[in-house]
Amino acid sequence: MKRRHLLATAALGLGLAFGGAAAAQDKTKACFVYVGPIGDLGWSYQHHQGLLAVQEAYGDKVETAYQESVPEGADAERVLTQMALSGCDIIFTTSFGYMDATNAVAKKFPNVKFEHATGFKREAPNVSIYNARFYEGRAIQGHIAGKMTKTNKIGYIGSFPIPEVIMGINAYYLHAKKVNPAVELTVVWAMTWFDPAKEADAAKAMIEQGVDVIASHTDSTAPLAEAAKTGGKVIGFGQASDMAEYKPSPRVTSIIDNWAPYYVKRVGQVMDGTWESIDSWEGIASGEVELGEITDAVPADVKAEAEAMRDAIAAGTYHPFTGPINKQDGSVWLAEGATAPDGDLLGMGFYVEGITGDIPK
């Protein structure tokens, strides 16, 4: 009774008191907050695969917990607080919208490590941010698209007009254009994170407009299923997960979100006490962005080029955004030989030159 009263008066201000309790445990506890259900087969599902990898890597030495379908905002703050209170040593918050909640809760629990995905704020020394350079995979898809399109029309299904998506569109277009100057890009915005039926309609609309390579930034297999109905005329890519069930065509390759290497590394660092606040943005090189098998539906020379590009990106000898690149309005963004600063990419709000149409505002 006394203890409860004491805690109540201390409210959340004295996070130190709870940090001690957490450290007293022998197991390291890694907790994860997901924005969708793990059955979404996309974003949250892939993060959960990372949790399973952590469990597998450390076995008995680690305890994991997670919470699905946590809305951003007030609910996230409560879930994070509950997790910190219940003894989590490191908490991964896996959606951009958790940014402010993560930082707010982190300030109250200085002994708990927080890892926020895809944001940019680190307001406390116990907050790290991490992201994956998905645009590297988009560049390779663009290359394949530019080489393989017969109609010279390629498509991209976007969710919402946020930098992450715009970055992907630009990388895709630039590399298609590089190998096929006649290529035209069609972007359709679904304006939803999740509506598989609408994704199917969007893919269908593009196919009816003559598009024969479809990339999508939404996570369902609906676009691939639509492509499959054309009997090999239209190809697409797996997104978030491998979507191997559509091999060898229409799915000719895929971008797999692979968070496992990062999660295993960071939890390990908590265990041996070497964890530090970092800003991590890894890509193909460290395995966070994984390129799924390129199938035989892709001609051998194109496949070889794509793999060479993948290896060059992994080796750090090639950056997908290397100048000269102009913005859509014709103004210079990157001069000859310059590579894009990360800040420009993370806040990207413009199309590159050659893409028609406007970004919704």
Binding site: A65, G73, A74, R78, Q82, G97, L346, G347, P360
Partner: protein, 364 residues
């Protein structure tokens, strides 16, 4: 030979005893059925039930979670009170979610326009703008109904989707944080004291939204018990023809009830965006407007009942979260469990309004 059948007999007036006892009975039945489901899923049913119902109130971290009950129940109660007036009068506003969004956007817009001015007037101005935003959004179905006979269920529901698109536009466009490095979402109000809606007492979870919800409960109670308008609302729902003879204008009542519901939903949105949520973002709305419909009926459209129903719903949300995190229950199991609780609450209501009598039937 013969057999016994159970026969329902309508009570002349609802039983006071059973109206108090049925929720307890329903919760007990839910514990049994839910426990069975948890056991099938391979979890300890007793631990799961305790985590959901007991821990948020009396467990180790109850000092924190009790406050969170208010955070969660506040918007539900506030919206449900507004909706209940319309439901009583037979006006079907099921688009409170959209009104909630528009209230938040309008209120936030006023605050963000004033940024970074510090003035005591800013927050009150935002509150008014929030209420007006929700009110205006509710006026669309109200006026279409009174002027063109357009069904309000359809219009209010469709406008939820429109409001969601406006919300996406606001987050990525006109309300986007200019210092947010191009990311979607507005400024966070916690960094702008003049426009923020923080906890009134640290750690209590109570912010102005909770206060407004309590005030709405009291006001609705007084309105329904003492005011002529409350009488007109009740009469229109029970006997529309009689109401018309009594001089109640259905048009006026529609506009009034929809307006109150919209304004309260808008207020809920404003208090949420400035307080617990902190900012306008694409996923700002989390379904309070729809859950509030359940809360309204669970509370039997009665202000005090709505308050209790809102707190009970909040408890299942928070306890459910605890169970999911601590016991590894899928969030889908929690959803199903909430559904069960509602089923039992609704089914047990039978005992309030009916007498169940065994009747002996002769075999023929």
């Amino acid at each position: 030979m013969g057999w016994i059948v159970l026969k329902l007999e309508k009570r002349p007036s609802p039983s006071v005893f059973w109206s108090r006892a049925t929720p307890v009975l329903a919760v007990a039945l839910t514990m049994v059925a839910g426990g069975l489901m948890f056991a099938i899923l391979g979890k300890n049913p007793f631990e799961a039930i305790r985590t959901i119902f007991w821990d948020p109130l009396f467990g180790e971290f109850a000092w924190y979670l009790r406050g969170q009950l208010l955070v969660k129940a506040g918007p539900l109660v506030l919206i449900a009170i507004g909706l209940s007036l319309g439901f009583r009068a037979g006006i079907w506003n099921i688009g409170a979610e959209g009104q909630y969004i528009m209230g938040a956007i309008c209120g936030a817009a006023v605050g963000l326009a004033a940024y970074p001015t510090e003035s005591r007037l800013i927050f009150p101005a935002m509150v008014i703008a929030g209420a007006l935003g929700g009110w205006a959004w509710a006026m669309i179905p109200a006026i279409l109904k009174t002027r063109f006979n357009t069904n309000e269920i359809l219009v209010s529901l469709m406008l939820v989707y429109v409001a969601q698109t406006v919300l996406a536009m606001a987050s990525t466009g006109f309300l986007r944080n200019p210092e947010g490095a191009g990311f979607p979402g507005s400024r966070n109000f916690s960094g702008y004291p003049a426009a923020a809606n923080p906890e009134l007492i640290a750690g209590s979870g109570l912010h102005w939204g909770g206060v407004a919800a309590l005030a709405a409960v009291v006001a609705a109670y007084v309105l329904l018990q003492r005011h002529i308008l409350g009488f007109q609302i009740k009469l229109s729902g029970q006997a529309p023809r009689a109401a018309r003879f009594a001089g109640v204008s259905p048009q006026k009542l529609t506009v009034l009830c929809m307006g109150i519901a919209g304004a309260l939903a808008g207020l809920a949105g404003l208090f949420e965006v400035t307080g617990p949520a902190g900012q306008i973002s694409i996923d700002f709305n989390v379904g309070y407007g729809f859950t509030a419909i359940i809360v309204a009926f669970l509370g039997r459209l009665n202000p005090v009942g709505i308050l209790l129903a809102g707190l009970l719903m909040a408890l299942t949300y928070i306890g459910g979260e605890m169970a999911a995190t601590n016991l590894g229950l899928p969030s889908a199991a929690i959803q199903a469990f909430q559904g069960m609780l509602l089923f039992f609450l609704l089914a047990c209501d039978l005992l309030t309004n009916y007498r169940v009598r065994p009747v002996f039937k002769e075999a023929r």
